[in-house]
């Protein structure tokens, strides 16, 4: 009782002492003495407090308090409260989830935030990306200790190239090389790194000094790594240690906090003590012991796991061979790399999507919005419904009028296709979908976005070709072999224009342009040698002009001509004459090229298709002649003086063309190489039977087939269209991983899916994340765990589940039987 009365006083004294130490610490730090005593003061006081508290409760604490149900309840409530706090107090999530690693192999990999913050993905082979580390968000993340950047040797070398040593430093390098007998390059490198390091240290000390109102020299001297000590507002008020101390409480990552582990330990002790002291030790109530043994097993297992287990991530990039092999895993918690005793290689990666059946019901008189249909409208689909595909299940449409039965369903097939998949949205006529790209890597389409890749129709005069600057892109479908050959060999464009020279006396001479050839002409009584070099945009020469603005400008082609060794750019505009070189006194030039017939087209890119012939791309140019080559998905073309790419996003050769689906086995899946930039390799296939008021049809359907019409209205137009469409929902990710031992032999290969890891030498490789990198290559995140003690945990879970079932199901049943027997016995005895 006496002790209880003294409690407030004792705590008051301790509190006052703490406050004094705090004040002294602040004072001392501002007097330029680093305030470590403050920490010791707090520690000493904590010890005293603990001793006093211990004295209050005495030795009997363990047995008198911890064995109680009440203490169990209190501890569990504390656990629940900390768990609630743990899910509520979260540091900036975006920052928490970003990790940037550099593996020992010398390349960096992004963490989970990769997709969201591509600027965090470090690629140390390029100094440009390293520049991103200076950006604001990255700096914040770095200061939180969430991101660590380890520049590779390669990157360091690149940085060195940019560093210019001062004159005296250069002299020193030479001397060092001379005196220590090192190579000049090595000495130079060392000098650069030292100078860089000093620079960094100087900057950090400067910043620390500014923020904390201390002198720069003091900061340099007393704080070896000032960067780490730069803690903003806390530091500013001399409360660095307070900041450090609050950080040690792990308020924002409670599940990593020492006191949380302590709490779990207390629960463990409580369970052990309580079970020993209180559990009824008989078979009937043995469930209680089993349950608590389960909890202890789980807690012990967790502790063992905490000491033994390894975990980490590997991010593979499919399509970049150097990022398809790894021998180390990055641990997200410790932000370090651990070596694996073997290598792991990504052999193949693909995403499989769910497919749905899309049914469109057409009202040919009205639009989708119910308004009468106009000539130009395309939106005639009134009802659109999607159905997930399930085998042997009938779908009912329009109050059961139309029934669709899925006879067979193969979710994973390869569609054999020689060029390109047109997709279900393809028109019913021969057509090609073209995209024009200015570079191989970027997805920057000249028609603004991917979705605006236009369809070109072979038999529609208005939409069979599109023109871009001086080039024309067209789609031609040959109905006969003769036509096919003719389309492949059309002669070159006729006119290249002419160079017009005008003398001071009004004399005009017209020279037809023949590119690449030199000729000698007579003009104004002189002999002049003229070489026509090229016809191209003047702006293509200027490197610093923004590419977009260059393309948006309405440029005219210029003629580049060499006259007596001087290169002249001659514009097309006929009003504009260019002064000639001094050799041709006072003469002017004009590029006469205004051919209304070809509308300024200098090149034609023609996609030629025919029923039984390989599709070809024909390039027709005034300078290049005619060149036909087999059609590929992405082909190089010239876009008005710039190297560009023509991408074929869809091709329909004829209305009757059919693709053959092939069901893929796992082995075939392992063998077949997919396009790293596309997910279209895997598709679905269904066999449908449609019944309704019109004659029934049975048809196979793949996502690459065109709409399947069914039924007809009075004018004979289809009533319903069916399509198999790919949804955006992932069905599964496949990462084929191989474990390779030190001799380079493949020891195990497994197709890793989300619930099916690769297991090798105690390590397990799980499919964790998936996405695309900046270049469009598939990135697959594999989480790696090494946890040999997991069976111990399994045993704990088994005990816990069995025990609770014992307590709440078996025991009441046994009790009931016992009671019934007793009653019977009593009744018998009474009788």
């Amino acid at each position: 009782m006496a002790a209880r009365n003294r409690t407030p006083l004792g705590f008051g004294i301790i509190l006052a002492f703490h406050l004094c130490v705090l004040a002294a610490g602040v004072l001392l730090q501002n007097l330029y003495i680093h305030a470590s005593p403050f920490v010791f003061g707090v520690a000493a006081n904590a010890a005293v407090t603990a001793a006093i508290v211990g004295a209050f409760f005495g030795r009997a604490f363990l047995w008198d308090v911890l064995r109680g149900f009440k203490s169990a309840a209190v501890l569990l409530t504390l656990l629940a409260a900390s768990c609630i706090m743990g899910t509520l107090f979260i540091q900036d999530l975006d920052l928490r989830r970003v990790n940037v690693f550099e593996s020992p192999e010398g390349f960096a990999k992004g963490g989970e935030g990769e997709g969201r913050y591509p600027e965090f993905v470090l690629n140390p082979t390029s100094t440009a990306n390293f520049g991103n580390t200076q950006s604001g968000r990255f700096a914040i993340a770095q200061s939180f200790g969430i991101i660590k950047v380890f520049p590779s040797d390669e990157l360091k070398a690149k940085l060195e190239e940019k560093v210019v040593l001062r004159g005296d430093q250069e002299a020193r390098v030479e001397r060092v090389a001379e005196v220590f007998g090192r190579s000049a390059a090595e000495a130079r490198r060392e000098a650069i790194l030292n100078s860089k390091r000093r620079e960094i240290e100087r900057d950090a000390a400067d910043r620390y000094a500014k923020r904390n109102f201390v002198s720069r020299n003091w900061a340099k001297k007393h704080i070896p790594n000032a960067e780490e000590h730069d803690v903003g507002w806390f530091g500013r008020f001399g409360l660095y240690d307070v900041w450090k101390w609050t950080r040690s409480l792990h308020v924002f990552d409670i599940f990593e906090a020492w006191w949380f582990y302590f709490l779990l330990g207390m629960i463990g002790i409580n369970v052990i003590v309580g079970t020993i002291a209180r559990a009824p030790w008989n078979l009937r109530d043995f469930g209680i012991v089993v349950t608590h043994a389960g909890i202890i097993t789980i807690l012990t297992g967790a502790f063992i796991d905490h000491c033994v287990a390894k975990e980490g991530y590997i991010h593979f990039t499919y399509g970049k061979p150097e990022l398809q092999i790894a021998s180390a895993i990055g641990d997200q918690k410790t932000k370090t790399y651990a070596h694996l005793p073997f290598q792991v290689r990504l052999d193949r990666y693909a995403t499989e999507y769910y497919h749905e059946l899309l049914v469109e019901v057409v009202d040919w008189d009205r639009n989708g919005d119910g308004k009468p249909r106009q000539e130009s409208d395309e939106n005639v689909f009134v009802v659109e419904r999607t159905f997930p595909i399930r085998k042997d299940i009938a779908l009912e449409l329009l109050d059961g009028k139309i029934k669709i039965k899925v006879g067979a369903y193969e979710p994973r097939v390869f569609i054999s296709s020689d060029i390109v998949d047109a997709g279900a949205n393809a028109p019913l006529l021969p057509a090609a979908k073209l995209g024009l790209y200015i570079s191989r890597e970027s997805d920057q389409n000249l028609f603004l976005t991917r979705s605006t890749e236009p369809w070109l129709f072979a038999f529609d005069p208005k939409r069979s070709a599109l023109e871009f600057r001086d080039s024309r892109f067209e789609y031609r479908y040959a109905r006969s072999e003769e036509e096919y050959r003719r389309l492949l060999t059309t002669p070159p464009l006729p006119d290249n224009g002419a160079l017009v020279l005008r003398g001071t006396d009004g004399e005009e001479q017209r020279i037809p342009v023949t590119l690449g050839e030199s000729q000698t002409i007579r003009f104004g009584g002189r002999r002049v040698r003229v070489t026509f070099q090229s016809i191209r945009s003047a702006f293509a020469e200027e490197e610093n002009v923004n590419l977009d603005s260059r393309l948006q400008r309405r440029e005219e082609p210029w003629l580049y001509v060499e006259v007596d060794g001087t290169v002249l750019g001659v514009p097309r505009d006929d009003s504009d004459f260019v002064s000639a070189p001094p050799a041709l006194k006072g003469a002017t030039f004009r590029f006469d090229w205004n051919n209304p017939k070809d509308n300024g087209v200098r090149r034609i890119y023609r996609v030629v298709a025919a029923a039984n012939q390989p599709p070809m791309l024909v390039q027709i140019g005034q300078d290049a002649g005619v060149r036909a080559e087999p059609l590929r998905r992405r082909m190089r073309v010239a876009l008005h003086g710039l190297p560009g790419y023509l991408e074929l996003a869809g091709l329909v050769r004829s209305a009757t063309e059919k693709r053959v689906p092939k069901v893929v086995t796992d082995e075939e899946f392992l063998r077949e190489g997919g396009d790293p930039k596309r997910d279209e390799a895997l598709a679905a296939w269904v066999d449908l039977e449609i019944t309704g008021p019109w004659p029934s049809i049975r048809r196979e359907l793949t996502p690459f087939d065109r709409r399947l019409p069914y039924g007809e209205d009075k004018q004979g137009r289809p009533f319903v269209f069916l399509r198999l469409v790919k949804t955006r929902q992932t069905r599964d990710w496949f990462s084929v991983l191989s474990a390779i031992d030190k001799d380079g032999k493949v020891q195990k290969t497994h197709t890793v899916q989300v619930n099916s890891p690769l297991r090798y030498k105690g390590y397990r490789f799980f499919q964790a994340t998936a996405g695309r990198d900046r270049d469009g290559f598939g990135v697959t995140g594999i989480s790696v765990t090494y946890n040999p003690g997991v069976w111990y945990m399994y045993f704990g879970f088994l005990l816990l589940t069995t025990g609770t079932c014992w307590i709440f199901f078996f025991k009441p049943a046994l009790d009931k039987r016992r009671r019934r027997r007793r009653n019977e016995a009593r009744r018998e005895a009474a009788a």
């Binding site: 169990a72 309840a73 409530t77 899910t87 999530l93 599940f255 009938a394 609770t804």
Partner: protein, 290 residues
């Protein structure tokens, strides 16, 4: 045929309402000692079996057309909770036999069970009817053999423990009103016992589901536990019921205070079940799929 099967949720919705009304009516009949009270019991049982039968038919029909157990979309999960609520209410009803009580307590008991069906099952069914019944595809992580046992155990656990917290709420309201008015409420311990019975029926399912979740996580992510928001909240709600089960043995905690713990446990389940998306930590959660 399909359209008939699609109407099953509406059917059992009506049946549940009828069942609730019949239960209360039966209570009135027993209370007034009317002679048809005994044969009326068969109507209660008939409705009970029909409602559960229709619900089970719908459940298994959906399972047959799904590629997975029908406990994935919100519609399916709410419907499953309605089913488990009904099952546990029925089990409790059979076990506690309120019709054997006398006088007003028979009416009170029946009203409690009528409320359980009327508020529990009917409300979950209404919630299910407000969701899109379209069959959904499973995301890759859910394509596992753990899916059906783990989720169905949770459905059983949530269903029963929410009943328990509902009973506890009922107890706390009546008890505090009685205390305030100075009336002695004799039926209090009975309701308290019912709470305990339901808790003890559902708690093993909660435990098993928690363990199975850990095993599944180990199978799918390589870690049996990583303090994910949903996991943590599942542990929190589990811990509340553990606290309740232990506090029952502490003098003075068996009554009102213990019931308050059960109510808070119910709130925790509610958060785990429905509000987990709101929590800041859930943005990084592996359990949030939509």
């Amino acid at each position: 045929m399909i359209r008939i099967l699609e109407q099953l949720p509406n059917t059992y919705f009506v049946l549940y309402i009828l069942l609730a009304l019949t239960l209360v009516t039966h209570g009135v009949l027993v209370w007034k000692n009317v002679s048809i009270a005994k044969p009326f019991r068969f109507l209660v049982w008939g409705l009970f079996c029909t409602a559960i039968g229709v619900h089970l038919l719908h459940f298994f029909w959906r399972w047959s057309i799904n590629e997975h157990a029908p406990i994935q979309s919100k519609h399916e999960v709410f419907a499953a909770t309605a089913l488990t609520t009904t099952i546990f209410s029925g089990l409790l009803y059979v076990g506690q036999k309120p019709w054997k009580m006398r006088g007003a307590s028979a009416l009170a008991g029946s009203v409690v069970f009528g409320l359980l069906i009327g508020v529990g099952s009917v409300a979950w069914t209404v919630a299910a009817l407000h969701q899109d019944p379209k069959i959904q595809n499973l995301v890759p992580a859910l394509q596992s053999y753990w899916f059906a046992p783990h989720v169905s155990s949770y459905m059983l656990g949530y269903g029963s423990l929410l009943i328990a917290s509902f009973l506890a709420l009922f107890y706390v309201i009546v008890e505090s009103v009685c205390r305030f008015r100075g009336i002695r409420w004799t039926a209090g311990p009975i309701v308290e016992r019912w709470t305990y019975r339901v808790t003890s029926m559902g708690f093993p399912f909660m435990t098993a589901a928690l363990c199975m979740g850990a095993l599944w996580a180990d199978d799918s992510w390589g870690e049996y536990w990583f303090w994910d928001a949903k996991e943590t909240w599942a542990l929190i709600s589990w811990a509340f019921f553990v606290v309740y089960l232990h506090l029952r043995y502490v003098p003075g905690w068996a009554g009102l205070k213990g019931q308050l713990v059960v109510i808070s446990g119910g709130v925790m389940i509610w958060i785990t079940y429905l509000w987990i998306h709101v929590l800041p930590a859930s943005q990084a959660s592996n359990h949030v799929y939509n």
